[in-house]
């Protein structure tokens, strides 16, 4: 089975017309026609993750995010970069093949990244969520308690919260990665991956901060990009196993990158 065969199998099982125009969902490195010894799904093709996948004998990477530290995976400015060369050589010398599944994952009726995000945040009812699940209502709690629950449930430690920890909240709006939803009148809390802090299309951080100062119960829980989408890549591995029995398929986490 070649890497190209794997992608073809995914396309056939997607259940939706494949988006061929996506510049993200392409092979990034390695020979698509070489034999696959095993598949590693991951949130981000980090160098550490590549090494762990190689140690497990998995030579095809299905990654949700980029490899070359910029969303379009443009390598033009990196040709002389020593880290680029080291990572590239590691992939090529070990016969690895990198492929990204981003836009097509988010287009699925069930968006694994959002399903995984809600599960890891301990929010029930997201088992069939799409990329934009709308407001989820949870039993009323405080923003501080919700944040503690997210910490216990996700195991993440570096995520950031804004708002009054004592604010009573129950209506949650969830979004993956950089697609952190904008706060709405109906929502109490936005849970997302990351977002520009200010001067963007809508600045949740500044808004929630002012809402808190005015006694309006609003909160933001910014999980971090990896944490918000990582659990969904485990779901992707589970799904791939249902129609790719030929090779081992494992979830290899990229891991929360921060210390504080």
């Amino acid at each position: 089975m070649t890497a190209r065969d794997v992608v073809q199998r995914i396309r056939e099982n997607q259940g939706l017309p494949w988006n061929d125009r996506s510049a993200r969902d392409t092979f990034k490195l390695g020979d698509p026609d070489s034999q696959v010894t095993g598949i590693a799904t991951t949130m981000m093709t980090t160098f550490g993750m590549l090494k762990r996948a190689h140690e497990q004998g998995l030579n095809m990477i299905v990654s949700h995010e980029d490899t070359w530290w910029n969303d379009p995976d443009n390598t033009k400015d990196l040709q002389e970069n020593p880290l680029y060369k080291m990572k590239r050589d590691f992939v090529l010398q070990n016969g690895m093949i990198l492929w990204r599944d981003h836009d097509n994952m988010h287009a699925q009726n069930r968006d694994f990244t959002v399903i995984g995000e809600m599960r890891s945040a301990g929010i029930r009812g997201g088992e069939n969520a799409s990329m934009h699940p709308g407001i989820m209502t949870i039993p009323e709690t405080t923003l501080g308690e919700l944040a503690s629950q997210v910490r216990r449930s996700s195991g993440a430690h570096a995520f950031r919260c804004v708002g009054d920890p004592k604010a009573k909240v129950s209506r949650i709006l969830v979004g993956p990665g950089y697609a952190t939803p904008r706060m709405t009148a109906e929502a109490d809390v936005v849970i997302g991956g990351e977002q520009q802090e200010a001067d963007g299309a809508f600045d949740n951080v500044g808004y929630v901060r002012d809402a808190a100062a005015l006694g309006i119960a609003k909160g933001v829980i910014m999980l971090g990009h990896v944490v918000s989408e990582e659990a969904g890549m485990e779901d992707l591995a589970t799904w791939l196993r249902t129609f790719i029995p030929e090779v081992p398929i494992r979830f290899v986490p990229a891991g929360e990158p921060f210390w504080t």
Binding site: M44, T46, F47, G48, D66, W69, N70, D71, D77, L78, N81, L83, M86, K87, H132, G134, I135, A147, S148, A158, F159, R160, C161, V162, P165, G177, Y178, P181, T184, A185, E186, A187, G193, E194, E197, A198, D199, G200, A201, F202, D203, V205, G206, Y207, R209, D210, A211, A213, L214, I216, K218, I221, G224, H225, V226, A254, P257, F258, W259, T260
Partner: protein, 305 residues
């Protein structure tokens, strides 16, 4: 800060006398927000296109000014402090109304959470309450970003260095590198946390035990292009914010490769606060008759326990 208060009282006294007498007393009596801004525009130079981010965002520009405050972001907390201190003209580096549009959106909202339009909903309660507070307290808010950061003297940088206590360690007058007394990354981060009064906003990537001597300061947003050009020049980059799936991931990979370069992000607004303190000092040189003070917006983030 203390001196500012003294000069503000004196200023209020002068202004009060003038108002009571109803006679123009030199320039001071007619100092409106508009006039102060005109003076600043003359001093900073450059074009001030109406479509640019800089300009009046709230309040009445023709209203008299009792004092000036500068901040990285005119949050409700900052505005309350300004009103309390009688500084009714606020210069803010970032938007007041939660987006680049800095006010109500012109396009109708899409589906909940979908985004797709820029700005706050016209009937938004937080927006209205903030406007009401500004009106009641006769505050005027002016965004001063592009023209302040375009000055040849990079005060956003030197302000941050000053807050960190690193002014004297600057390597070259026109560059962003500082050679600090060597310590571990963990110790450096602890120092940054304490000096910038950080709560939950600080996040670091790299080797905790790396020896840090040369630091690159980058207030605001650091792009990947800047990072790739400069990362080898420093043991540690201290930036406001970056994109996690781009810049952060590069530093995570450097760590895997055994490289000692680290990255600390402190939050966009926190990284810009010190540069606006420098702005208040500058304003006092341009407009010595107007008391100016700095109000830190501070770290908006906290961490779950």
């Amino acid at each position: 800060m203390k001196n500012n208060h003294v000069s503000r009282r004196r200023f209020a006294m002068i202004a009060g006398t003038v108002t009571a007498g109803g006679i123009a007393f030199g320039e001071t009596a007619t100092l409106t927000a508009e006039k102060i801004v005109e003076r600043i525009k003359t001093d900073l130079g450059g074009d001030w296109p109406p479509a640019g981010p800089d300009g009046f965002k709230a309040g009445d520009p023709s209203a008299p000014v009792t004092g000036v405050a500068t901040t990285a972001m005119a949050t409700m907390e900052v505005l309350k402090q300004a009103a309390k201190d009688g500084a009714n003209l606020v210069f803010t580096y970032e938007p007041t109304f939660f987006s680049r549009a800095d006010g109500p959106a012109r396009v109708a909202p899409g589906a909940p959470g979908r985004g797709g339009f820029i700005g706050v909903a016209a009937d938004d309660p937080v927006y209205h309450a903030k406007q009401e507070f500004i009106g009641k307290n006769h505050l005027i808010v002016f965004r001063l970003r592009d023209h302040w950061q375009a000055r040849r003297e990079n005060a956003m940088l030197t302000g941050l260095a000053e807050s960190l206590g690193w002014t004297k360690y600057r390597v070259k007058p026109d560059d962003v590198l500082y050679d600090i007394p060597a310590m571990s990354a963990e110790q450096t981060v602890a120092l940054i946390r304490s000096k910038l009064r950080l709560r939950g906003g600080l996040r670091a990537v790299g080797d905790r035990n790396a020896r840090i001597r040369r630091v690159l300061l980058h207030p605001g947003v650091m792009t990947t292009a800047t990072m790739w050009q400069r990362y080898t020049a420093a043991d540690l980059i201290v930036a406001g914010e970056v994109r996690e799936w781009e810049n952060t991931h590069f530093f995570a990979d450097l760590l895997t490769a055994g490289e000692k370069h680290g990255l600390v992000t402190v939050g966009r607004v926190v990284s810009e606060d010190p540069g606006m303190r420098a702005c208040s000092a500058w304003l006092m040189t341009v407009l010595p008759a107007v008391p100016a003070q700095w109000i830190a917006a501070g770290d908006p983030y906290w961490r779950a326990i």
